[in-house]
Symmetry: C2
Subunit: 191 residues, 2 copies
Amino acid sequence: MKLLEDKILKDGVVLPGDVLKVDSFLNHQINVMLLSQMAEYIYNHFKDCKVDKVLTVEASGIALACLTAQFFCCPLVFAKKSKTANMQGDSFVADVYSYTHKTMNHIEVTKKYLSVGENVLIVDDFLANGEASKGLISLVNQANAKVVGVACAIEKCYQGGGDSLREQGIDVLALAAIDKMEDGKITFRNS
Amino acid sequence: MKLLEDKILKDGVVLPGDVLKVDSFLNHQINVMLLSQMAEYIYNHFKDCKVDKVLTVEASGIALACLTAQFFCCPLVFAKKSKTANMQGDSFVADVYSYTHKTMNHIEVTKKYLSVGENVLIVDDFLANGEASKGLISLVNQANAKVVGVACAIEKCYQGGGDSLREQGIDVLALAAIDKMEDGKITFRNS
């Protein structure tokens, strides 16, 4: 999506350690008008998939996921992060390893908010190693619901998570797919 | 707002300890169409205030705040929670005491995302003792910006936070203001 790529080139900041800082428009201050256009782009890609529900994980995925759910006129569910797994048995729980913080976390969704046979679209801000997406897919699978696809604002292709999901036959849509970041220069895939 | 009051009476669950569970439509699974109408209600109340920015705190305030910012065609900023105060000096930081978890937390916003003289509307899902709102107001004050008001989905009036803000001259809008919850029965203020 050229609009987002241009915004990343204009306002994104590449920091040491492959960190792309986009907190001026995507995940701290949020350019809601841009996100709304991004949500429409996601809608146009998945509009024939009979999406019943949009699923994301707190916190920075919520804004884009909310605007996407608005286009589909469907509910949004956000998985909650916790350090300890919920032991009450009323939640689907998945492990998500954080490479950034080098810790294992849990994400969970109350069982009644993911139902058998539902078509679920997963939306998040970043897709890097794919740990968060795999956790969300696990929650959908535990519910015997169906993942219709994974949409992310920014994919860091060189971390492999997106391609690993594609190899499993999952429709992965990245609005901006970054092939490499070298010396502060960003190269997008297919552009 | 009658639509929200009716939804709370229909789908809210009152649990022991004054807990109102609204996670089927407000803060886990989100009824985006309802939230969009709530955002419009907030917009109509504050539309003459020249709102430059909507401010909330992660995570459950983000959806309503995002849809509200959409009506105002303005950016959304969400404060981040942290256990330890950012020591780099590039953030505004406020303490927020959590009565639920009995812990002191910090919320912070990178300084460049709140500017001198901006009109800031604070939006959150719940307003109870007012700790989160007071923290957000502190961030706005540190930036020498102006709080035009505080809008929340649900105010628990009996916890006093909303009235304490009103006494300071702040325009507090609660879409559903709960005066008491007794034996599972919810009584709204002015209804």
